[in-house]
């Protein structure tokens, strides 16, 4: 029988061959974490929300005011409930266990940390505050699919309303709600769609690291995102977000309590992205494998780093804007309320200081993943690695200098517009670098067309249309005509969806074998992809026409002259919806019963593919050393390699000769 003292003795444990002194182990490894999971998180979150709401209602009913200018009682109750939810949920997930144990002098041991990384927990680790970057990557993937699904559902409802020109399908307030919620849900989803799943799962392996620099922060950023999304969904039941995703003042001040859901969502989401950005950047800066100099670092790593950096400086503006908006609403401060002396321009500036960099946060990882995929399927280096890096650096450098191109028509001193017109037209140069590198890499290449590469074809095409129309919008005189019209909506969908989302689909298809151990079914996958692509051209091509005719955006009722383009657009949207569902089916089917993948099915040379599948907890038993540039593919003809593969009896020697080891 062991005595109490002996279990609490300090010990040491061997981590990769090194003796590391350990704090005393209290109880079984994992401690309280053994009892916490998503279920307890939900439960505590709901309990805290209800308790906070109840206390607030008990306190406020005594001091009820009749001043209609002031927020109503449900307002306070909802806000308290939201705050209670976020704190309770994070508590119930176990987010505070590490810090609490640290302040109480009972720091986590190595065995505790391994428990938290999900060691030997099987499927359960996906429902816990797990620190392993691969688990977090998968969790992100599922959460993102959910968010995009919500946004997509709302998109279908929007298009139904706009297509049914002969009647009103939804009430105007609900229509406004779905516009705003669709916008912000899609923006959040697209910001994390690459940096979340791929950034977490793949990037550490890609640079030859065993995990992220801050594994617990990694889990924290994911579960904060979940907490934020619940705030967003809840807003739809208390009046919704009726003022578009940009929620300008003073509309936001007149909006129902749903606006609080928006504000809390953004405040929490900004914390989540901030943490995730710091984590990714630290990992990339400090944990690259020996020999991985910057010129040997894969382009996707640059892309994820750039997105993190832009998110890190831009998100605080947005977060402040919503914190100030919240205090305006609840405590009657006057940052933005115009009649009391606040400034709506201040709001617009703060909003767009994130709003524009955000489009690059979405686009750069998608472009980078495209450039990552191409060399593998074209079996040749990037047309110019240096230009690609220069493009990314240029975008980051200029990203913070263009925001006011969204404000040309706000009526401020017109001369202020021109510097922004210049910077905006300038930023199309580094963006152009990326497209040119892509086209240069395709130039006279022998292509090995697999599903991931197909998505890249779509990206290049859509990006071209989005880029060309963007130049018109950045032009002050032209924007006077286009501003606030469906033309704008079509333009940014070509960018965010056409380039961003299709790139992400390519990225998911590409990394699917590493993440799940199975190939994403190419038959269903490509049917889904091309159906969505075709629908996309119909929807947004026709929306360009509606915009050129002058149809205003965010407006429920419009002139009969816009009917035809809206009917076409709606039919296209349904086609996108079906295509996306087919793509989703490919994911679901392949995840469960797809073709089992080898550890390196695409014959890629980068580090993440050199690990076994499924990837062991610590990724690499021995840390790799990098000796060459990332895309030194020697084989001119990938078909040959594929034919050989079909022979069935190819030996490892053949494979070596074919360069697809």
């Amino acid at each position: 029988m062991t005595t109490a003292t002996s279990t609490l003795e300090a010990s040491s444990s061997t981590v990769f061959g090194v003796e590391v002194p350990q704090p005393p182990q209290h109880g079984k490894p994992g401690g309280i974490m053994r009892h916490l999971n998503f279920g307890t998180g939900l439960l505590t979150g709901i309990v805290f929300a209800v308790a906070a709401g109840w206390i607030t209602s008990a306190l406020s009913s005594s001091s009820a005011t009749n001043d209609t200018f002031a927020p109503t009682e449900p307002e306070y109750i909802y806000l308290a409930g939201l705050i209670g939810w976020v704190i309770g949920f994070m508590l119930g997930m176990g987010a505070f266990v590490g810090p609490l144990r640290w302040v109480t002098g009972r720091d986590l041991t190595h065995a505790d940390a391994e428990y938290m990384a999900g060691k030997d927990l099987g499927i359960r680790r996906y429902f816990k505050f797990t620190t392993d970057h691969k688990v977090v990557g998968i969790q992100y993937l599922v959460v993102v699919l959910g968010i995009l699904g919500l946004g997509g559902l709302l998109a279908m409802l929007i298009r139904t309303e706009l297509g049914a020109t002969w009647t009103e399908v939804f009430s105007p307030t609900f229509y406004n709600t779905i516009i705003g919620t669709h916008g912000i849900a899609m923006v959040i989803g697209m910001i994390v769609v690459m940096s979340g799943p791929v950034g977490n799962f793949i990037v550490p392996m890609m640079i030859g690291a065993r995990d992220m620099a801050f594994p617990r922060l990694n889990a924290l950023s994911l579960w904060l995102l979940v907490a934020a999304v619940v705030c967003l969904i809840s807003s739809m039941f208390v009046g919704g977000i009726q003022d578009g995703w940009s929620v300008y003042y003073p509309l936001a001040a007149q909006a129902p309590p749903g606006m609080l859901g928006y504000q809390l969502t953004i405040i929490v989401f900004a914390v989540s992205t901030g943490i995730a950005s710091v984590n990714l950047m630290t990992t990339i800066l400090t944990m690259r494998a020996k020999g991985m100099t910057w010129s040997r670092t894969p382009i996707l790593v640059f892309g994820v780093f750039a997105a993190s950096l832009m998110g890190l400086y831009a998100f605080p503006f947005y977060q402040y804007s919503q914190i100030l908006a919240l205090t305006d609403r609840i405590w009657d401060t006057v940052f933005f309320n115009p009649v009391q002396g606040g400034s709506v321009w201040l709001y617009e500036n703060l909003f767009w200081l994130l709003g524009h960099p955000e489009v690059y946060v979405i686009l750069i990882p998608s472009m980078a993943v495209a450039l990552e995929i191409m060399p593998v399927f074209l079996r040749r280096p990037l047309f110019s690695f240096n230009f690609a890096v220069a493009g990314i650096v240029g975008v980051v450098a200029l990203s913070g200098l263009v925001w006011a191109h969204h404000m040309y028509m706000t009526g401020w001193a017109p001369a202020v517009n021109y510097p922004f017109m210049l910077s905006t037209e300038m930023i199309s140069i580094p963006v152009g670098f990326l497209v040119l590198v892509a086209i240069g890499t395709f130039w006279r290449a022998t292509v090995w067309t697999r599903l991931p590469l197909m998505a890249i074809y779509a990206v290049v095409f859509n990006k071209m249309i989005g880029g060309v129309t963007g130049v018109y919008l950045s032009d002050v005189p032209a924007d006077q005509y286009f501003h606030g019209s469906m033309f704008v909506v079509a333009h940014f969908h070509y960018m965010l969806m056409g380039a961003g989302l299709f790139g992400a689909m390519g990225g998911i298809a590409f990394y699917f074998p590493k993440m799940t151990g199975r190939i994403l079914d190419e038959r269903i996958g490509s049917i889904g992809l091309w159906t969505a692509f075709a629908g996309f051209q119909i929807t947004f091509g026709s929306m360009f026409v509606a915009g050129l005719q002058g149809q205003p955006r965010r407006v429920l009722q419009f002139d009969d002259m816009f009917n035809i383009s809206n009917w076409i657009s709606t039919i296209g949207a349904y086609v996108i919806g079906i295509g996306m569902l087919i793509f989703l089916a490919a994911i679901i089917y392949s995840w469960r019963s797809g073709e089992v993948a080898s550890s390196n099915p695409w014959g890629s040379k980068s580090l993440e593919w050199q690990t076994p599948t499924p990837v062991p907890l610590e990724n690499f038993a021995v840390l790799p050393v990098v000796t060459e540039r990332p895309y030194n593919y020697g084989v001119p003809d990938p078909y040959e390699a594929e034919l050989e593969a079909e022979d069935g009896d190819r030996t490892s020697d053949d494979r070596e000769r074919a360069g697809v080891s």
């Binding site: 200018f69 449900p74 559902l153 007149q254 129902p256 269903i524 419009f558 002139d559 009969d560 087919i582």
Partner: protein, 234 residues
Amino acid sequence: MKRLLVTLASVVLGIAVVVGIGLVASVSGAEPDAIVAKQVGTKSTPKGELPHYEVHLDVYPNSSAAVPPPSAGTPINAELLSGQPFYKPSTSIQVPANSVVTIHFTQYDSGGQIYNPYFAKVHGSMDGTMTWNGKQVSEIKSSEVGHTFTVHQFPESTQPYLFLSVPLPMNPANAKTDSNGYPVDPQKISVTFITGEAGTYVWNCEFPCGDMYQEFGGPMQQRGWMAGTFEVVA
């Protein structure tokens, strides 16, 4: 085979979810049943002898045991709107084309200063006036407005012209009230105008009578309360 089934199931389920949620949202946010104008005779106008129709609308400061609130879609929304003013019996109004229409308002609410005095004037009625407690007036004091009834056109080039705006005077703060808190002697306003060709319009109240900032929130944005549709049918 399994592949096909999974695909079909995903598509069918996905469509079912979209249709299901869309239906629930559409039904719960449905417009209140329309009030249809009733014919009361004919009236001679500069355009000749036209059929004459009537509509009655009441404006309440809040709901009570005697006057239940209009539908607000969801229970939470109803809670958010409780205690707010509304039009009764409905905000969906249907009148015939090419006719004379008289709307009789009974206004029970208090009021105050309207931001834009333009809306304290009568616009679009047959002779530019309205009848207020038996007197003909073409405007009221901009500091004594209770609500307005203002019909706007959609921005549609094909829509026949129709613009009507009627200020509804407030009840004084010391007005004698009944057991439900409504004035026993409310403001009575009637306005008569001529409709053109058929078309669908929206109307709303231009007096800030809602909640939140500038009192333009809540019922001001809610169909069934301080906003609605105005349909001219052939």
